[in-house]
Amino acid sequence: MATENPGTNCLLRDGDGNDYTDLKVYQKAGGYAKLKERLTMSRDDLREEVVKANLRGRGGAGFPAGVKWGFLPKDTDKPVYLVINADEGEPGTFKDRYFLQKDPHRLLEGCILSSYAIRSNACYIYTRGEFYDEIQTIDKAIADLYEAGLLGKNILGTGYDLDIYQHPGAGAYICGEETALLESLEGKAGQPRMKPPFPAIVGLFGCPTIVNNVETIAAVPVILDMGGDNFAALGTERNGGTKLFGISGHVKKPGLYELPMGFNMKKFIYEVAGGTLDDRPLKAVIPGGSSCPMLTPDEIDIAMDFDSLKTVGSMLGTGGAIVICEPTSMIDVILRISRFYSHESCGQCTPCREGTGWLYRLIKGFKDGTARPGDIDTLYNAAEHIDGHTICALGPAAAWPVQSVVRKFRHEFEAAIQNGGLAETA
C-alpha cells in the first residue's frame, strides 16, 4: 500500500516489512533518538514548532494543535492532563486504528513530547472498547517504555516525569466528543458538557486538559524530526503537512493512503484508489466521515483540506471519504446514517434526542412507501430545527447530511413517493 502513495510516507509506513510495535524496531528507524534532547528544549520552542507546522487537529474540527495548547492557563497549581482521543467512531473513518495497531510508538512518542510541551505529567489514552487487540498492543508498548526508562520518573535523566495510562471506552460514539469523553473517563455516562468552560480551563477531574486526536499527536515526532516549516510546506497554505486519508465504499482499492493536505479529491478516487468499483457511474461522495454534507460528481474536483471543502458547503472532517455509485439509492444511504445518529444521541437535548429519531422515521417512510408528498419538506425543516439548538455537534452532524441529500437528490424522494417505496439495492 505504502509504495503507491503519492505522499511522502512520513506518517504511513505500513507494508515496509518492519514490525514497529516492537520498541527496538521503532528505535532502529530513529524513534526516540532525540527524546532526551527534546525533553530539555524550552517548552515554548517545542510548541512553536507545532504552531509553525500548521498542524490542524485530525479529529474532525481542524483546530490548530499548537494554538490550542496555548489556551492552557499560564500559572496553575493544578495538574495538567493530556488526553488522547482514540475513540475513532465516525463512520467512514479508520486512520487512528492504524497507529494503534501498527505504529503505537509514533503515538506514544508524540504523547511524551506533547505532554512535556504542555507541562503535563499524566496522559490518558481513551481507546474505543471494540479495539480489544489494539488495547493490548498499546498496553504492551507502554510497558516496554517503562522498562526501557523512557516513561516514569526522571525520563533519561532529564528530570521530567510522565505516566501514560490507557482507558477503555465501552461502545458509545458520543464519547468521541471531547467533553463526553472526559465524562466517560471519570466513570460517568458519556454526556457532553456545556462549553465554556473549555477543557483547557476545566477538563479532566476539574483540571486544565488538552484533548487531541491520535493522528494529531502521532504527527508531533514527525514534525520535530523534519522541522515545523518543512512539515507545513508539504501541505497548503493554512493546512500543513500530510495526512492519512481513508477511502471506502464503491472504489477498486479502498484503504488508507497518506497524501499531502490539499490533494485533489477526483485524483484520489480515480487514480490513487483505482476508480469506481466495476467502473460504475459515480453518484455521490461523503468527503470525510458520515457527518459531512455529500458532494455530487461535479463537485469533486476540489482540494482536500479544511478550507477548500468549506467552499463547496462541506467539510474535510476526518478525511475518510465514502464513495457511492449507481445504482445505490441515496435513501438507503441516508437511512443508515440517520439510524446511526438517532442510535448514538446521548439524549440530553430535546432537539437532538427527538429530532434524530424523527429524521430516521421520516426517511424510513420513503423506503417503506408510507411517505406523503409534504414529507420531503418536513424532513428538511426537521433537520434545520436541530442545527444550532444543541449542546454538542452530534445534532448538527445528524442534520447536515440529511439536508444535503434532500437538496441534491430530491428527485429520489419524489420517485420513492410515486413508486410506493424502494426496491432492495446495495
Partner: protein, 169 residues
C-alpha cells in the same frame, strides 16, 4: 448470587486503581465493570453492587453508567457473538448479505440467540475498519474484507468448533 472478584481479577483490579488519582476512584468504573464481565460473562445487579462498594459510589451511579454503554452487557450472549457492522461503508460492500447468511445458517437475526446458545447476533455501528468492509466482529476478533464465501467458511468453522460451556452460562 453475591459476586466477588477471583484472585486474578483482584490483582487486575488493583492495577486498574493505580491509574487514577485516589480521590477520583470512580474513574475506574468502566474498567472494573469489564473485569466483572470477563469473570461472569455479563453484568448482574449483584456484580454492579459489588463494584459500587469497591469504588465507594452508589449502586445507582454504577447502573447509570453501565446502562449507557453497549459493550457493558446486562445479559448473556451466545458463545460466538456475531457483531455485524451495517453502517454506510459496510452496507455499500454487502453487509446485508452477511445478515441474510446468518439467518440462513444460524437461524437467528439481529438481537437474537440460537437455542443452543452457540450464536448470538447484533447489528453494530461503524467499527473503524471501513476500508476493509464488510466487517464482522466475533467476540473481540475482527474479520475484515469478508465475502459471502469467506463468511460462510467462518460460520461453518464456528459451527463445528468444540466448545465447553457457553460464555456467560
Amino acid at each position: 448470587m453475591p459476586f466477588e472478584f477471583s484472585k486474578e481479577m483482584e490483582a487486575r483490579f488493583a492495577k486498574v486503581l493505580e491509574k487514577y488519582p485516589a480521590e477520583h476512584k470512580k474513574a475506574a468504573l468502566i474498567p472494573a465493570l469489564y473485569l466483572v464481565q470477563e469473570q461472569h460473562g455479563y453484568l448482574t445487579i449483584d456484580g454492579m453492587k459489588y463494584i459500587a462498594g469497591r469504588l465507594d459510589i452508589s449502586a445507582s451511579e454504577v447502573l447509570n453508567t453501565a446502562t449507557f454503554y453497549t459493550l457493558l452487557r446486562k445479559e448473556p450472549h451466545g458463545r460466538f457473538h456475531l457483531q455485524v457492522c451495517t453502517n454506510v461503508s459496510c452496507f455499500l460492500r454487502g453487509s446485508d448479505d452477511l445478515i441474510r447468511m446468518i439467518r440462513d445458517k444460524c437461524g437467528i437475526g439481529p438481537g437474537e440467540m440460537s437455542d443452543d446458545r452457540r450464536f448470538s447476533c447484533e447489528e453494530v455501528q461503524c467499527l473503524a475498519a471501513c476500508g476493509t468492509a464488510p466487517v464482522v466482529q466475533v467476540n473481540w476478533d475482527y474479520h475484515e474484507k469478508l465475502t459471502t464465501e469467506s463468511f460462510s467458511t467462518l460460520l461453518e468453522e464456528l459451527q463445528s468448533r468444540e466448545i465447553s460451556a457457553p460464555e456467560g452460562a
